[in-house]
Structures are given as structure tokens and as C-alpha cells.
């Protein structure tokens, strides 16, 4: 499906995810109102906005996590590489292999470090044998900048790692299925500044291979890691522009008021 390009979106970059007139309802609540934007490939896009503005809800539309919520209805068009994410033929489990997700609190499975990472490749049948699976696990752990810290204790439980390590393990788990898009919902809010910096460094590296979309409450984090920033407020997307522009000269008064700390 070909959609007209949005003027203010991902210029000069390949569009990975396109949203047009997306609305989300939770029962009677209109949580997302007519959001249209293009998310570029091989770049980091940040969603910012006050609590309840809809940024996480919108993020969760991209891999159909909202399907699991009772009474949730999504209208409008969401495309991944031009294909409708919400088409009846699309299997949400297969979709989530292409669109990975990392959550606010590190949530490793109560399994070994190895099995945490091997879980996705196993259920999707990505490895032909033990050697191939070993290679996938090592590569994912290396990309998540965790390999050197855990290579001698891959059989240890994932839950025994520090918070920052657990979050990097979850990132390794998310990228082990070789997704094309990585969704991150406040991935650093439970981490200390050092672990946060490590995740941010990782995001910068992941950008070379993935389209990364990050929801964050930390404006400074959005400023540090992203190339594009979208500001959400009360279910609408108020402004979407180059991150540099958003933080030096935003066009909308509401964006300005939010990022300068003038309303909550």
C-alpha cells in the first residue's frame, strides 16, 4: 500500500512504519485521536508527553500489544514496510518477531540467561541446531553489550543479574529474533544513571540496524538519543520534528510549555 508522504516526517530517510489517522478507544475512552506520522528506518524516534497523553498506547499499536486489552479498538491505518499491521491475515505473534519490545521494568523470564535469549529464536524456529542457536544467543548478547559480563555464566538465572544487566538481557532477548523495529517503553526509568548511559549507548549502536522507537519521560533522554521527536498531549500528536528543532525552537506553544517545564 502506498500512502502520500507526510511533509514533516522522516525526510530523506526510508519510512519503516507509517501511521495514518490512527484512533484508539478503550471502551468509551478516546485514547488516541487521529495520529498520523512516519517513522524512519535506522533512526531513533522518541515519543514524549505527560502521563496519560497516549504515547505508550500509540507505541503499543505498532506491535499490536493493545490486542490483548479487553475493549480496546484501533482504527485507521498502520503500515510496516507498506503492509497493513492490522490486516486479518497478520499473525500478531509473527508481527512481534519483527517488531520487538522492551518494557519499563526489566522482566527476564525465570530461566537461565541463555534460555532467556534463546526463547524467541526457538519458538520461531530460527535455529537449525544447537551450534546455530549458540551463535544467535552470543550475537544478541554482544549487540546488547552484555556478552563480556555473562559469557562465563550463561546457565545462571537471568533474574540474578543487576537491574541494568537485566534490562540489557531483555534487549538481547528482543533482538535475538532479528526484529526490524524495536519499541522501548521507558526502558531506563528503573535504572541508575550509569546503567541508563549504557542503554543509551546501546540505543545509539542499535540504530545502525533497527528502527528504534522510544517512549521516555526524560526529556533529556529524548534529546540525547533520538533524531526525531513526537510530542503527545491528551491523545493527539501535537508536534513531530527533528529533535534538535523540538528542543531549540518548537513550533507549538504546548510543546514549548511542556519541555520547558511549564505544565505537567
Amino acid at each position: 500500500m502506498i500512502l502520500p508522504r507526510l511533509q514533516d516526517a522522516a525526510d530523506n530517510a526510508e519510512v519503516k512504519v507509517s501511521a495514518r489517522n490512527v484512533n484508539v478507544f478503550y471502551g468509551q475512552t478516546h485514547a488516541i485521536k487521529d495520529v498520523s506520522l512516519d517513522i524512519a528506518d535506522k533512526s531513533v524516534t522518541a515519543f514524549i508527553g505527560p502521563s496519560g497523553c497516549g504515547k505508550s498506547t500509540f507505541l503499543r499499536c505498532i506491535n499490536r500489544m493493545n490486542d490483548t486489552i479487553e475493549g480496546c479498538r484501533v482504527t485507521g491505518t498502520l503500515l510496516l514496510d507498506g503492509e497493513d499491521i492490522y490486516a486479518p491475515a497478520v499473525d500478531p505473534v509473527q508481527l512481534r518477531a519483527r517488531v520487538g519490545m522492551v518494557f519499563q521494568k526489566p522482566n527476564p523470564f525465570p530461566k537461565s540467561i541463555y534460555d532467556n535469549v534463546a526463547y524467541g529464536p526457538r519458538i520461531h524456529g530460527l535455529a537449525a541446531g544447537k551450534a546455530e542457536l549458540d551463535a544467535i544467543v552470543e550475537e544478541a548478547l554482544r549487540k546488547a553489550a552484555l556478552w563480556n559480563e555473562v559469557k562465563d555464566r550463561l546457565d545462571a538465572p537471568g533474574t540474578g543479574l543487576s537491574g541494568g544487566q537485566q534490562q540489557r538481557l531483555c534487549i538481547a532477548r528482543a533482538i535475538a529474533t532479528q526484529p526490524e523495529v524495536l519499541l522501548m517503553d521507558e526502558p531506563c526509568s528503573a535504572l541508575d544513571p550509569i546503567a541508563t548511559a549504557q542503554i543509551e549507548e546501546l540505543i545509539e549502536e542499535l540504530r545502525e540496524g533497527f528502527s528504534v522507537v522510544i517512549v521516555t519521560h526524560s526529556m533529556q533522554q529524548a534529546a540525547r538519543v533520538s533524531q526525531k521527536t513526537a510530542f503527545f498531549h491528551m491523545g493527539t500528536m501535537v508536534e513531530y520534528d527533528d529533535t534538535t528543532r523540538i528542543f531549540t525552537n518548537p513550533s507549538d506553544q504546548r510543546t514549548q510549555d511542556y519541555i520547558t517545564g511549564r505544565f505537567g
Binding site: M219, I246, F247, T248, N249, Q253, T260, R262, F263
Partner: protein
């Protein structure tokens, strides 16, 4: 466009207090620099040595304010991480303070030369110098108004008008050269006048910079493009 200040206050009210205190110091510096310049020109014209000395002494306060503004701005950047309008305002205040400090230095220099010139009796080119000084003071005054009242239209008009000071400088330059050629005994006094004219021309440039900062704070974009220039090649504009 006028008045781009965000309508609502910061949630953290001490942040607003910090920004208000910073701007109050910049406003004080602007007032002092403008008054110093006006008094230096007046004292020069009236050959009032006492007043010249008093202008020279006042420069110290500007230096103190510059240091204070810089310290306050650094503190806000470190502790508040300003963005958008706030960031532009803090950066502009820092640059305003160093610009106004230089205006103070130039006014001081004019006053110092006024002490030397006072003994020489009335000079024929003093009328032109006073006119040029008044033009520079007016430019500075309006640029400061544009900054304080967030008036980017006024800033733009000040920015375009610097060409008038350049023209006054050029004609004064020729006038002084003519006197010096006619009577070599006037070379010492003429040189003083030349430097005074140059200083006033520099004040005009600094006023232009203040106008640029005023525009940037409001519009978020730098004033770009070639500014009209008024001087011919025989008068150095440096």
C-alpha cells in the same frame, strides 16, 4: 512578532525567579552602558573633565555585572538544563552581558580621550562626533528596547539601520583627514577624534548584535543574510 514569552509560569517557581534575576541584571547593564555612552559624549562635547573621569570610574560596575550574569547563566544551565525559549534566553543573556561590557569599555575610552581633548579648546569636528555618538546611543537604546519588549520587528529595523552609523563614520573620517591635511598641528587631536569615531562605530556594531540577540530570542532563528553596509573602502571598518 512581539512578546513570545511563554504565557504560563514554570511549575518550579524558583526557575522563574532565576530567569527573572538574570534578566534584571542584563537590563541593569543595558541601562548603565547606555547612560555611560550618553554621558561620555556629553562630557566630551562640553569638555567637562570631571564628568569624563566619572564615566571612566563607572565602567567597573559593568565588569562586575558581566561576571555575575555569566555565573548566574552557568548555574541555570547546570541546574535547570534549559531548553527551547528558556535556552535561547539564557544564551542571549550571556552574550548580551559580554556585548554590553564592551560598549562600556568603548564609552570609557571615549571619556578618556575627552580628558585629553578638553585642554585643546573647541574642535570643529565635535558637532559631527556628537551627532554620530547620538546615533550610536539611539541604536543601542532601541536594540535594548527590542530585547526587553521581545519586539523582533524593532530588532530588525535597528539591525538594518546600522548603515546610517557607517555613513556618519565615513563622512567624519573624511572631515578629520581634511583638517589634518590642512594643518599638521591638528594631527594629535585629529587622531584622538579618529579613535573616538571608530569607537562609536563599534558601539553601532554592538547595538546591531544586541538586535540580533533580541530577534533570536523571539523568533528562534538567527538573523541571517548580508547586512547593508555603508562605508567605502577608504575608511577602515574592522
Amino acid at each position: 512578532m512581539t512578546g513570545s514569552d511563554p504565557k504560563s509560569a514554570h511549575i518550579v517557581s524558583s526557575y522563574d525567579e532565576d530567569l527573572a534575576a538574570l534578566q534584571a541584571r542584563v537590563a541593569e547593564m543595558g541601562g548603565l552602558a547606555e547612560a555611560m555612552l550618553a554621558d561620555a559624549i556629553e562630557a566630551l562635547r562640553k569638555r567637562d573633565v570631571e564628568r569624563c573621569r566619572e564615566v571612566v570610574a563607572r565602567d567597573k560596575r559593568l565588569d562586575e555585572l558581566e561576571a555575575e550574569i555569566e555565573a548566574r547563566a552557568i548555574r541555570i544551565i547546570a541546574l535547570r538544563a534549559p531548553v527551547a525559549f528558556d535556552l535561547r534566553l539564557v544564551v542571549a543573556c550571556m552574550r548580551m552581558s559580554s556585548t554590553l561590557e564592551r560598549v562600556g569599555d568603548l564609552a570609557k575610552n571615549v571619556a578618556k580621550r575627552g580628558i585629553d581633548l578638553a585642554a585643546a579648546g573647541p574642535l570643529p569636528m565635535m558637532g559631527s562626533i556628537a551627532r554620530m555618538g547620538e546615533a550610536a546611543r539611539r541604536q543601542l537604546s532601541e536594540a535594548l528596547d527590542a530585547f526587553v519588549s521581545r519586539d523582533s520587528e524593532l530588532a530588525l529595523s535597528v539591525w538594518r539601520r546600522d548603515v546610517e552609523i557607517d555613513e556618519l563614520y565615513e563622512s567624519l573620517f573624511r572631515e578629520v583627514v581634511t583638517y589634518m591635511m590642512e594643518d599638521p598641528r591638528t594631527i594629535t587631536l585629529g587622531s584622538h577624534c579618529m579613535f573616538i569615531a571608530k569607537n562609536l562605530e563599534r558601539v553601532g556594531d554592538h547595538a546591531t548584535h544586541v538586535a540580533e540577540l533580541a530577534y533570536y530570542v523571539v523568533e528562534g532563528e538567527p538573523l541571517d543574510g548580508e547586512r547593508p553596509r555603508g562605508t567605502a573602502s577608504d575608511a577602515p571598518t574592522g
